[in-house]
């Protein structure tokens, strides 16, 4: 597809292809406690991403030789639905899925009091129903809420967001088009109260200065997302509280 280079006016140059400002997140909608069977669950829409996370556990580790004597074993499966992308993909896990499952699991390890539940395992299942760039970060944002929803003691929520470089500009929360056409993408996961970066990856090329700038912008994004996560949790609790009150009234 030929891209026309249009001379941009002062204002235009700070506006992205979808109308967002450089440091603007895509619209985000989060819901907690959306699944019937999982011990905890959450659903996120971030732009066109639609992702569901479910948590089971802590439960007895199986098979037993995988049990850790001093802490819980976190497990994570990041998986994309066959219809989540442009061309139908096989449901078998790809190498990318396996890498992402690993780094996402490692992004949660510092947030969970794993030592509370020796010899158990906690499973985090992530299903990307529709993908549009930035799925690993949105998955982390949702899965952290699913862990909280499951009542698993956490040091803090983990919030995740990418920043990157597109058309020479450092921008927040790249969508699929920006990811593919851009110069760099840096996903980052962050535990605010601990000032801890728990996931950090990068594709692309950034000078030292750009790198610092991008990382800081991604951190800003994480902080905004942290607020949205807390609101979503609060909404869930209010809902539960209301349900309980209603029940009491009815009796």
């Amino acid at each position: 597809m030929p891209k026309k280079k249009v001379k941009k006016t002062a204002n235009e140059k700070d506006i992205r292809h979808d109308g967002r400002k450089l440091n603007e997140l895509r619209p985000i909608k989060i819901e907690v406690g959306v699944l019937g069977n999982a011990d905890g669950s959450a659903y996120i829409e971030q732009g066109k991403n639609k992702i569901l996370a479910g948590v089971y556990g802590p439960k007895e580790a199986h098979p037993k030789h995988l049990a850790l004597p001093d802490r819980t074993r976190l497990r994570c499966r990041y998986h994309m639905a066959p219809f989540s992308v442009q061309e139908r993909r096989s449901p078998a896990p790809s190498r990318r899925d396996i890498e992402l499952s690993k780094v996402i699991r490692e992004a949660f390890e510092p947030s969970v009091f794993t030592e509370y539940y020796p010899r158990t395992s906690i499973d985090i299942f992530i299903e990307v129903l529709q993908a549009d760039g930035g799925t690993r970060c949105a998955s982390i944002t949702a899965a952290s809420l699913a862990l909280a929803d499951a009542g698993i003691p956490l040091r803090d929520l983990v919030s995740a967001c990418a920043a990157g470089k597109v058309d020479g500009r450092i921008v927040l929360d790249l969508d699929d088009k920006e990811d593919k056409e851009g110069e760099a993408d840096l996903p980052l996961a962050y535990m605010s109260s601990q000032n801890a970066i728990t996931l950090l990856q990068m594709d692309g090329m950034l000078t030292g200065e750009e790198f610092d700038q991008t990382m800081n912008l991604a951190l800003e994004g994480c902080k905004q997302i942290y607020q949205l996560q807390k609101e979503a949790l609060k909404a869930k609790y209010l809902e539960v509280k209301e349900a309980i009150n209603k029940e009491s009234e009815e009796q």
Binding site: G54, K59, H79, P82, F83, S84, R88, P91, D123, E127
Partner: protein, 265 residues
């Protein structure tokens, strides 16, 4: 599949209930749970639908690809149905390649669509013997509370009715995508109705706890003219012939009711 004493007690209790014409969730034996179907929920898929049948939730996504026809039907498009029992849907689902339950689910849904000729596959031929459209129907179970077949079949039909196929032209043997879409040619509306046999009685649309204690399961798929187009008995028990005739009668009624949820005229 627990075989413990607790399970036995529960089984007896549930069986007693059914004998009295009652069910755990206060439905009548031949009452369906409320079904909510939403279409177009995955914009990137050519078709999609999400069903909530009680607490059972299934998302169906349909993708259209281009590939080779089977050599015995060179002028027909290809239909392929796949089911994933993803592990967030139930503590009993494991990651990994589809097991026998997922394969049976996919094949029973496939059979209903295929045998009723719901999709006009001849309409999906691009170049006979060389290039045809492939319709990928992916059944994605998000929450398992019983009766996956009916939920999946209904959502698959809704998704098919919601599916758009891109326009194209063939230039020098290559398919080129052109702007615009048209609907997938749907000619029939198969509806699966599943019965569980508990304590020698039939109940329709079993929920999970009923499936756990049922002796056997029977699915009848009924097409728009009330013909039976697929059958599947499963489970460790059996049916008597009268029970099957009874089920066929009820299946026709229930199918007509459910069909209205997804086929708007």
């Amino acid at each position: 599949m627990t075989s413990s004493v607790v399970a036995k007690v529960k089984q007896r209790r549930m069986a007693d209930l059914v004998s009295l014409g009652k069910r755990l969730d206060e439905r009548g034996l031949m009452d369906y749970r409320e079904a909510q179907v939403e279409t177009g929920v995955v914009e990137k898929a050519e078709g999609s639908a999400r069903i909530r049948l009680g607490k059972t939730e299934v998302l169906v996504g349909i993708k259209i690809g281009i590939g080779e026809p089977f050599s015995d039907v060179p002028n027909q498009g290809v239909l392929t149905v796949n089911a994933e029992l993803v592990p967030l849907a139930s503590p009993t689902f494991e990651p990994g390649p589809p097991g026998e339950d997922a394969i049976e689910l996919a094949r029973v849904v496939d059979r209903g669509i295929r045998e009723s000729k719901a999709i006009d596959l001849e309409n999906l031929c691009i170049e006979p013997g060389k290039k045809v459209f492939i319709v990928f129907i992916d059944l994605y179970v998000l929450n398992y509370d019983g009766n996956l077949i009916d939920a999946s079949a209904l959502a698959a039909l809704a998704a098919l009715l919601n599916t758009k196929v891109f326009n194209y032209e063939v230039k020098e043997g290559e398919v080129q995508i052109k702007p615009g879409y048209k609907s997938l040619p749907i000619r029939n509306y198969p509806i699966a109705i599943t019965f569980a046999k508990i304590n020698d009685k039939l109940v329709v649309d079993p929920q999970l706890e009923e499936e756990q204690v049922m002796d056997a399961r029977l699915t009848m798929t009924i097409e728009k003219d009330e013909k039976v187009c697929a059958l599947q008995k499963a489970g460790n028990g059996y049916f008597r012939i009268q029970q099957i005739s009874e089920a066929a009668k009820i299946a026709r009624q229930k199918a007509a009711e459910l069909r209205k949820l997804v086929v708007k005229k």
